[in-house]
C-alpha cells in the first residue's frame, strides 16, 4: 500500500489532488460524475463580495495545447455562496473545502474573509491576487510585492482559517512576491495563476477575446509553472501548492519533487471532466513505478 497523504496548513489530505478554482464551479457538475470525497479537497469558483457577471463574450479561445480565458470572475457573490452553494455542496462533499476569494480593494478581501470565518465547511482560504482578467484589482495586488504583502497582512489579521495566497506568473520576480507574502503571514502559497496571453482572428483581424487579453493555461504551461514552483518552494518555508498544466499522476509527482506539498488540477478538468478522478486512481500505480512509498517524502525531493 502506498501512502498518498499530505498535510496542508495543519489539515491532512488523503491525497494531494485539488481541482483548481474556476475549473470546477462549486463542484455540482462533477459530483454527478464521481464521488468528490475522493479528492484531497477542491478550490471553489473565485468569489467576490458582490455578484459579478464577468466579461462579455467571447470569453474563451484556444491555443496549442492550452486554453485562453477571460471569464472575469463571474460569481454570485459571497452572500449567495454562503446561502445557496455551500449548503448544496454539503450534501456531496464532506471534507473541508478551499474557498477562493478575489477582490478589488483590501476592504473587499477582508469583508469576504470575515464572512467565511463563520463557515465550518471551509478549511482554507485561497486569496486570489492574480486574476489577469479584471481591471483595477486582482492581479494589481499580485504584481507588486508591497501590495501583495498588504493584502496578505490584512486578511491574516481577521482570518480564522489558514490563508493561502495565489500568485501571478505575470511578474518579473515571483520569488520576491512569494517572500513578501510569507513575511506578511501567509500560511501557504499557490501558483501559478494563468499567464496573460491573446489570440487574433485572422479573418476579422481583431482579438478573439472581447477582453482582448486572457489567461492562458493547460498542458502548454506546465514547464513554466514547474520552474516557478521550484523557485518559490526553495525560497520559502511555508507550503506551496503547485499548479499549471497538470494533467497526469506523473505531473503531480513532478510538481511535488519541485517542492509542492499539494497540486491543483485546472484546465484538465474542462477537457476531461474525469481528469482529477483519473489522476487520483492512477497515483498508486505511478508511485509504485517510481518506487515512492509515501508522497510526503518526495516533497522538494528534486536533487
Amino acid at each position: 500500500m502506498v501512502d498518498t497523504k499530505v498535510k496542508l496548513c495543519g489539515i491532512t489530505l488523503t491525497n494531494p489532488v485539488i481541482p483548481a478554482s474556476g475549473t470546477f464551479g462549486y463542484g455540482e457538475e462533477f459530483a454527478k460524475l464521481y464521488d468528490l470525497n475522493l479528492l484531497g479537497t477542491f478550490s471553489f469558483k473565485g468569489t467576490t463580495l458582490k455578484p459579478r457577471f464577468g466579461n462579455l463574450s467571447p470569453r474563451i479561445a484556444e491555443g496549442k495545447n492550452g486554453i485562453l480565458n477571460a471569464v472575469g470572475l463571474q460569481n454570485p457573490g459571497i452572500d449567495q455562496v454562503i446561502k445557496v452553494e455551500l449548503p448544496k455542496m454539503k450534501k456531496f462533499f464532506k471534507k473541508p473545502v478551499m474557498a477562493n476569494v478575489s477582490g478589488f480593494s483590501i476592504d473587499e478581501y477582508v469583508s469576504v474573509v470575515k464572512k467565511l470565518n463563520k463557515c465550518p465547511q471551509v478549511g482554507w482560504i485561497e486569496i486570489n491576487i492574480s486574476c489577469p482578467n479584471v481591471h483595477g484589482g486582482g492581479m494589481a495586488f499580485g504584481t507588486d510585492a508591497k501590495n501583495a504583502a498588504l493584502v496578505t497582512k490584512s486578511v491574516k489579521k481577521v482570518s480564522k482559517k489558514p490563508i493561502i495566497v495565489k500568485l501571478s506568473p505575470n511578474v518579473t520576480n515571483i520569488v520576491e512576491i512569494a517572500k513578501a507574502c510569507e513575511k506578511a503571514g501567509a500560511d501557504g502559497l499557490s501558483l501559478i495563476n494563468t499567464i496573460l496571453g491573446m489570440r487574433i482572428d485572422l479573418k476579422k483581424r481583431s482579438p478573439i477575446l472581447k477582453n482582448t487579453f486572457g489567461g492562458y493555461s493547460g498542458d502548454a504551461v506546465f514547464p513554466i509553472a514547474l520552474r516557478m514552483v521550484y523557485q518559490v518552494a526553495h525560497a520559502v518555508k511555508i507550503p506551496v501548492i503547485g499548479m499549471g498544466g497538470v494533467s497526469s499522476a506523473e505531473d503531480v509527482i513532478e510538481m511535488m519533487l519541485a517542492g509542492a506539498t499539494a497540486v491543483e488540477i485546472g484546465s484538465a478538468n474542462l477537457v476531461d471532466p474525469y481528469a482529477s478522478y483519473k489522476i487520483i486512481k492512477d497515483l498508486p500505480r505511478v508511485m509504485s513505478h517510481y518506487k515512492i512509498k509515501a508522497l510526503k517524502e518526495i516533497i522538494g525531493g528534486c536533487k
Binding site: G22, T23, F24, G25, E28, E29, F30, K32, L33, K45, F53, G54, S57, P58, R59, I60, A61, E62, G63, K64, N65, G66, I67, N69, V71, Q74, I208, G218, D219, A220, S267, N269, L270, V271, D272, P273, Y274
Partner: protein, 243 residues
C-alpha cells in the same frame, strides 16, 4: 435527464455533404437517449479543447452529427477515422411539450441539423410541422430530401434565389400560419425570426470551454440573469434572450 457521459464511439461515416459540410455517423453501445437540441462535445486529436456539435439524429447505438469545416479543429475532424472520445448528453434541448397545432421549424446553414431530429420527434407525436431551411446558394444545400422523407412541409430559401424562395428565412415566414417556432442558426437570423414570430425557442451558439457548466466561458446575459449557453441552454425561450 441522464447525466453527461464520456464514451468512445466508432466513426462509421465521415463524408462531405457539400464542399464544407460533413456528416459524421458514430456508433457504439451505451449511447444514452438524447433530446433534440442537445449536443455532444468531441475530443479531436491535436486540439486542446473539445468541439461542441448538436445532434442531427439518433437511433439505437447510432448518433448522427452534421458540422461545417470552419477552422483547424473541424478540418482535423473531417479527416478523422477510427474512434473518437465523445461527451454525450450535454445541454438542454427543445421542449417538445411546447409544440402547438402548427409548428414552424427554422434553420439557417449549419443551424439546420438539430431541427432534423426535432422534426422527426414532432412527427412521431403526430404534430403538424413546417420547416424553413435557409441557405446562401444552391450548392450549399443539404438534407432537404431527408426532411421531405419525414413527411414535413419543406420550404427552401436561398439568398441568391438559385433554389426555392429568394431571400431570407423571414421572407418565407411571412406567408405562413404558425403558432410556435423552433429555430437554430446565426444570431442575426434568430433575432429577425423572433422579431416576427414573438414566440418560440432558439438555440444559441457561443465559444465554449468545457461544455458542461464548469468554466463559465459561455455565459450570456438573459432577462433572467446570467446563464451558461452550454448548461442552461443552448436552447432558450425567445423571451428570455436579450436580443
Amino acid at each position: 435527464m441522464p447525466n453527461m457521459k464520456e464514451v468512445i464511439l466508432s466513426i462509421k461515416e465521415n463524408h462531405p455533404l457539400t464542399s464544407d459540410v460533413y456528416r459524421l455517423v458514430l456508433t457504439g453501445k451505451h449511447i444514452d437517449t438524447m433530446h433534440p437540441g442537445q449536443f455532444v462535445n468531441l475530443k479531436i486529436p491535436g486540439c486542446y479543447l473539445r468541439r461542441p456539435i448538436s445532434i442531427c439524429d439518433m437511433n439505437k447505438n447510432q448518433l448522427t452529427l452534421i458540422y461545417k469545416v470552419v477552422g483547424k479543429g473541424t478540418d482535423k475532424l473531417s479527416k478523422l477515422r477510427g474512434e473518437i472520445n465523445v461527451l454525450t448528453n450535454l445541454g438542454n434541448g427543445y421542449n417538445l411539450a411546447h409544440a402547438k397545432k402548427h409548428n414552424l421549424l427554422i434553420g439557417g446553414g449549419v443551424g439546420i441539423p438539430p431541427l432534423y431530429f426535432l422534426a422527426k420527434e414532432l412527427k412521431k407525436q403526430k404534430k403538424d410541422v413546417t420547416v424553413i431551411l435557409g441557405f446562401n446558394k444552391k450548392n450549399e444545400l443539404f438534407y432537404v430530401d431527408e426532411f421531405k422523407k419525414l413527411g414535413v412541409k419543406v420550404i427552401v430559401t436561398t439568398l441568391d434565389g438559385s433554389v426555392g424562395v429568394k431571400g431570407l428565412v423571414t421572407d418565407a415566414m411571412k406567408k405562413l400560419r404558425y403558432d410556435y417556432v423552433y429555430a437554430c442558426g446565426p444570431i442575426p437570423m434568430l433575432k429577425a425570426v423572433y422579431t416576427l414570430a414573438k414566440v418560440g425557442e432558439y438555440s444559441l451558439e457561443e465559444r465554449m470551454g468545457c461544455g458542461f457548466g464548469a468554466c463559465m466561458g459561455c455565459t450570456i446575459k438573459t432577462e433572467e440573469g446570467a446563464k451558461r449557453v452550454c448548461k442552461d441552454g443552448p436552447v432558450f425561450l425567445g423571451k428570455e434572450i436579450i436580443w
